[in-house]
């Protein structure tokens, strides 16, 4: 186990290293730099000064080594688009908001998805089953910005019940400091897809479990339906769901550019676009690192969980 984990962590480091090299070289290979003048030309001396200040006058490999040396010490530099902050503080501040949306989405999607999927599997063929299947079909096919737009049309402009955007606006608190009306539509729009996926996977793996021999044995023993469901079915159905659904989570907590754009949420999302537009090298690198790292960790965690839940699975051997 320890050996396996070590191997996985080394391969994660390798991936992070590869990501850093590719991103860094791509960034610097493309035309245009962060301090290119627009209409007003800077005096050459001033420009040279700025470039020197940020170390952009040095050869790329030197810049890379310098950046990585700092990054290893958790110093990710200063974002060019907001020089009064550090990359770390800017990400912390904006990611906090994105993270809130993400966590609420995870809770809603997994909570409702699990319940709906379980009911659908338990009452297979009933109208509930059909409704859940249809809902998950809609959820997996509609892009979230489309859903967001419809929600805004109906609930904000049509029924005038909820705000069309903004985040923690002073007038939108239902319970001050605890729950804001601003949260409802974005989280709903964002949660529909993962909720559909969770419901669909839950239903499928529960149906598999219901049809298995050990459930028949349990029935023959005369166990109550509820005991069968909680003791036998849920436990076995959880195994395939961990690997299938775990990787949704890093996606959700890093947020959606679209949701944040549509609902005017001041989160991390916009920096994915502005950073590349402005050639904000430190910010691009940090965002790439953040996402690659979250993905890598999630995959390791789900694989380990898989082995913990299912004693038949042995970790190690081939790394697949």
């Amino acid at each position: 186990m320890a050996r396996y984990l070590l191997g996985r962590i080394i391969s994660l480091l390798f991936v992070l290293f590869a990501v850093s090299v590719i991103t860094f070289s791509l960034m610097h290979a493309v035309p245009g730099g962060p301090f290119d003048e627009g209409k007003q030309r800077l005096p050459d001396a001033a420009k040279a000064n700025i470039l020197r200040k940020y170390g952009l006058d040095q050869p790329v490999w030197k810049q890379y080594l310098k950046y990585m040396w700092a990054a290893v010490h958790l110093d990710f530099g200063i974002p060019y688009q907001m020089p009064t902050e550090t990359v770390t503080s800017l990400i912390r501040k904006t990611w906090f908001i994105t993270f809130q949306v993400g966590i609420m989405t995870v809770v809603l999607a997994f909570g409702v998805g699990l319940i709906l999927g379980t009911i659908a599997a338990y009452r297979r063929g009933s109208w509930i089953d059909t409704a859940v299947t249809f809902m998950s079909m809609l959820g997996t096919t509609l892009p979230n910005f489309v859903v967001a737009l419809w929600l805004i049309l109906v609930f904000a402009y049509g029924l005038k019940l909820l705000p069309s955007g903004g985040w923690n606006e002073p007038n939108d608190w239902l319970i001050p400091g605890v729950f804001s009306k601003d949260w409802i539509l974005p989280v709903l729009a964002y949660a529909l897809l993962p909720m559909a996926l969770v419901a669909r996977y839950t239903r499928a793996s529960m149906v598999d479990a219901f049809n298995s021999d050990y459930v028949r044995t349990a029935r023959a023993k005369g166990l109550r339906d509820r005991t069968i469901l909680t003791r036998h079915v849920l436990k076995n159905a959880a195994i395939p769901m961990v690997t299938a659904l775990g990787p949704i989570i890093p996606d959700l907590i890093t947020g959606s550019i679209f949701i944040e754009a549509v609902f005017r949420i001041p989160g991390l999302g916009k920096y994915f676009v502005t950073s590349t537009f402005n050639r904000d090298y430190p910010m691009i690198m940090a965002l790439m690192f953040l996402i690659a790292f979250l993905w890598g960790v999630t995959y390791i965690v789900t694989d380990v969980l898989y082995a913990v839940l299912d004693p038949r699975v042995r970790l190690g051997g081939t790394m697949q």
Partner: protein, 275 residues
Amino acid sequence: MRRFSHNRLAMFGLLLVLFFLFLAIFADFLAPYRYDVADFSKVLQFPFIDPSHPLGNDEVGRDFLSRLIFGARTSLMVGLTVQVIAFGVGIPLGAYAGYRGGAFDFAVMRVVDVMTAFPALLFAIFLITVWGGGLEKVILVLGLTSWIGATRLARAQFLTLREKEFVGAARAIGATENRVIFRHILPNAMTPLIVAVSFGIPAAIFAEAALSFLGIGVNDPLPSWGKMVGVSGSYIRVYWHIGLFPTIMIALTMLGFSFLGDGLRDALDPKLTVE
């Protein structure tokens, strides 16, 4: 085949897909106007008022119905070409990796690992801001990230199939490696690949809509449903039609392809119930 035609949802999906294909191919004849003709006296005109513009006009006065019809062409073009690139690259790469194994396999899989770690959308945004937008660039950028899944899938297929007796038999009678791969194994590996294509098309359409929504996809005046949704954000409060219609188009296309994909999967391989 019968299993497919008896599946009502799948037939509905097929109809939708055929409908959009029809729109895309014959857009020039079907659309009442060209997509770039603007009538500045009718900017943001509401739908169902003026019989010459049944679905109203957009923010610079172009006929909305025509833009929607030409939008089908953009979407399907992106969806289909990206999948051609994805599987054109992915199938041979995955096939050789799975069949040969060894160093080639190792190298391919490490590249795949690294590419997987890159967030696809971020990567696409990054490349587009560098290369500039436009239909060809969007297709190229999406193609660059889309071969990963195809490679993985093809490799997995070849890994299991290469151990089968018919492969040994083909090799025993002296078939060349390419012949074994493309004549003997590939036809047997097609089922999951076809299903993957039918899910890949809506994914690419979605990605194009997403990029255009952000304003870095297809360039004006070429219409794209995603771009129309993106633009509508600032007008939607009053001029609801320029937001509603394109979202309906996107939704129907995605639904059509997913129903079709689900149906194909059920018909071709009853064992595969969950993707």
